[in-house]
Amino acid sequence: MAVDMSNAVGLDVPAAEQVPGSPGELPPGRRRGFRLPSALGPGIPRALVFAALGYLFGHWIGNLIAAGYSQVTNSGSNNAAIILGYLFGTVGWIGGMGVLTYPLTKMTGREELLAPQRSVGPGRYFRYTLDHKVVGIQYMVGMIVYFLTAGLLALAIRTELLSPTNHVFGPGVYIEVVGEHGTMMMMMMTSVIVGPFGNFLVPLMIGARRMAFPRLEALSFWLTPAAYIILLSSLWLGGFPTGWTGYAPLSVQAGRGMDAYVAAFGVMAISIILAGFNIVVTVINLRAPGMTWGRLPVFVWGVMTTSFLMVLATPVLFGALYMLGLDRTIQTSFFTDTLGGSSYLWENLFWFFGHPEVYILALPGFAIVLEMLPVFCRKPIFAQKVAIAGMVGVSALSFFVWQHHLFDSGINPDMRPLFMLTTELISIPTGFIFLVGMGTLWKARIRLTVPMMFAMGFFFNFLLGGISGVFLSDVPADTTAHGTFFVMAHFHYTIMGGLIFAFFGGLYYWLPKMTGRSMNHRLGKWNFIAMFVFFNSTFLPLFAVGELGQPRRVFEYAKRLQTLNDWVSISAFLLGFAILLFVINLVWSMIIKPVRSPENPWHSRGLEWQTTSPPPPGNFDRIPIILAGPYEYGKPDALPMSDLVSRTSPVAAAAATDSERTI
């Protein structure tokens, strides 16, 4: 992070003085000596080559160091070589993308004040770029790829569970698939809102031209493809048998695929920390004049509280992964009880990260939904301060609940009442969100657009997810529910039913902003209906499956549960088709037959809609002065949110005269 500090905010260079070429590449005037042809310049081809070379180099070093040890020759797996290979491969990858050029140049005392990337054309989406809008789109595509891959793995899981005893994949591959699905989803869900929407929208919503640390922002994205490839490569190395939680003695025991888990999650942890870091600093420092904390949109509040959790909780995960890596390579004994370690250590460290992580997944969902509600209710948000208090309360409490994952483990059994209390307390701030949502709906003028449908779906799903959480927080009831499909259904209701519904709603809502093209609403409606029905049909029976005695992550189960499991599997396939419907809509409306969207299709007051769609490189013609809050619907004398629309700007005109119905 030190890398970027003294060039935190480079001044925007006027178009005439812009430096051509991409960041990470010296401007032509400063290039000295031999110049590479542009095909060998920073970009994905070079990054792939560097990554491969880095992997081979790391692997060679690892073999040089460790090949002779009897542990390596006997087991046939040199974990040090694999982990080093992944690390050097990642360094090669980001180096090839051009990330390292600037920090290395900086060591000579040179300073490049590069303008944000102004290049146009599809090529910029495949490059290391300093434009937060490009990074937002990159993140969006990247996270959708993550989501679809992990979703396919989920379908593989459900395929195996079609029969209690006959096996499609067999126990080994099944466990690998379960682990891949869980880890990939967790890695992706952490960034799925903060990455695409946080990066794209936060500057637009606070009236800034850019992020505080655009290089870190770009780096945080370009680490995610590396993590994706590393994690998937685990299958090739035999997978990892631990699920996403990576419980320790098993993860020390596991074969080479576990190294990919360590490396991929570690790389993603860095990406998460950087992304959160950038957003927190941006929101605190880059708000436009007049953007007081009280006027800050709820979405920005939500993303900022999430980012705080990301910055503070993820280092603990990184530390735990590092310890696991050491146990696996140089044979420390953090997690081996007979040598002074403890299997409890991993459980504590992991869940100390893991529980804030769970709220990292919940808060952005709240934020998106609460941001959309006032627009489609045509009413101010109800009790905005309560909403913010809810988010802040959830994030603060989330650091004090982690041992509720360990009620049966025998760790500090005398502390269970305390953790039961903190866990149940967290439903108070969560209840705030429902209060705000219901208060906003009260006597509203509800327009049931596609994003609003997803918001309503979010409330229903999150309600069931949250209520089932109360059963899990109660120690006696948790005795049966712990480690079963009940837990699995619970967190799928909050993550898939909550966060992903909010994400899809957000895509329908903001894609017109991000691309200037609108999604097909008819298809969107069907997408929502199918998703809502099949989601509930998939996961509601799983509560019963769990309570009836089926543990998580099993490849065999009791024959009496086959009907329920088959029902779930078939629903899951249909849910897959519902999501395919979304992909078709996305590809059709964005790529194949784009329809130009109105400038402000939802007639929102929000600042992000007061510039063109997609926004110009500098976001605004000038830095706006914020005149009023974003949710002043129904107040006849309300000022517009900023001074950008008070005059006859094209945006305001479009918003005023736009009679085209988009629903």
């Binding site: 009897s70 126990p171 099944y174 466990i175 048998p241 631990t242 699920g243 419980y247 320790a248 003695p249 098993l250 596991a254 044979q331 081996t336 009880d337 007979t338 040598l339 299997s343 409890y344 045509r378 009413k379 101010p380 109800f382 309560v386 049966d408 025998g410 059994p413 039961m420 209390l421 108070i428 208060g439 709906l441 009260w442 509800i446 327009r447 409330f459 229903f460 309600l463 069931l464 209520i467 109360v470 059963f471 927080s473 120690v475 006696p476 009831a477 948790d478 005795t479 049966t480 712990h482 480690g483 309570e547 005695g549 543990p551 992550r553 099993v554 490849f555 129904g634 107040k635 009679s659």
Partner: protein, 290 residues
């Protein structure tokens, strides 16, 4: 906002909600409740079922309130057509928010007190409570050791000569103390119908209590991912009457004597290097080589 309140929305929502709650809460408690898992085979299972019933009753009105509100909102406050009309300018109703916060806080605190009481009053409620449980049963009890290893459970009866079996037999109406431990990675001993779940950790004696009320068979599963055969790591269990348990135990003790002779002395945990049986992951330079 006054103009819009010709319909008394609040009263109507409240009415619907109260009626629905009055219908569904008794149904949940009295009709559905007795059939809730994990059943009533043991004291602990019955306690968990009671918790599930109570929580179900508490959850019902919450779910009904939100659902009623959402449905009502979509039915009566929906706006269609071309015209975009702004709603009433309501930014907060402090009294309402205050009531909401107060009620949720009260409910949540009650639930926490209830959970703690149930945990304490039910001998740890069947959960693994560490080596020195504070919510422990007192009086005479039968110790049974549950040994988890990759990928099987075995059961050891220290009071019957330290014999070890592959299925779990316990007597009815007697307090049982399960000492759960693992020989390798983390497992979780879950006797579903008994309402017992305790993680099996290497080097840790995790104690759970149960008192079976009825005879019959029960299933034992592993509830913590432990590797390749996690899904197949099951065992059979049976609650027997006192008399048949005694005859089974004495008979098995005699029958198993040749194998029992091979077993290490009974202990709460078994370190992997006692017999030199480890994978030598840690090399010969280490004092133990698990």
């Amino acid at each position: 906002m006054a103009a819009a309140t010709e319909r008394r929305d609040g009263i109507r929502i409240l009415g619907v909600w109260l009626v629905l709650s009055a219908i569904f809460m008794p149904i949940v408690y009295f009709v559905w409740g007795p059939h809730l898992p994990p059943g009533g085979m043991s004291d602990q299972a019955a306690g968990q079922r009671f918790d599930n019933r109570v929580l179900g009753v508490v959850a019902t009105p919450v779910v009904l309130l939100v659902c009623t509100f959402l449905v009502y909102a979509l039915l009566f406050w929906r706006q269609t057509g071309e015209e975009i009309e702004d709603g009433p300018y309501i930014t907060n109703k402090v009294k309402f928010s205050g009531w909401w916060v107060g009620l949720t806080t009260f409910t949540v605190l009650c639930l926490a007190v209830f959970g703690t009481y149930e945990l304490e009053n039910n001998n740890g409620a069947g959960t693994g409570s560490g080596p020195r449980p504070i919510f422990a049963a007192s009086g005479p009890m039968l110790p049974v050791q549950v040994i988890a290893q990759q990928w099987r459970f075995t059961f050891r009866y220290p009071t019957y000569g330290g014999m070890e079996t592959t299925s779990l037999m316990i007597p009815q109406n007697e307090e049982i103390q399960f000492n759960v431990t693992s020989l390798d990675v983390i497992h979780s001993f879950w006797a579903y119908q008994l309402g017992v779940k305790a993680d099996a950790n290497p080097g840790v004696n995790n104690i759970a209590f149960v008192k079976a009320l009825h005879t019959g068979k029960f299933n034992i599963l592993c509830a913590e991912l432990c590797g390749l055969w996690h899904g197949a790591m099951t065992a059979n269990g049976q609650v027997m009457s006192q008399a048949s348990f005694d005859s089974w135990a004495t008979q098995t003790e005699a029958q198993e004597a040749p194998v029992t002779k091979l077993l290490p002395k009974y202990s709460t945990v078994y370190s992997p290097d006692e017999a030199g049986a480890g994978g030598n992951y840690y090399g010969s330079q280490y004092p133990v080589n698990p």
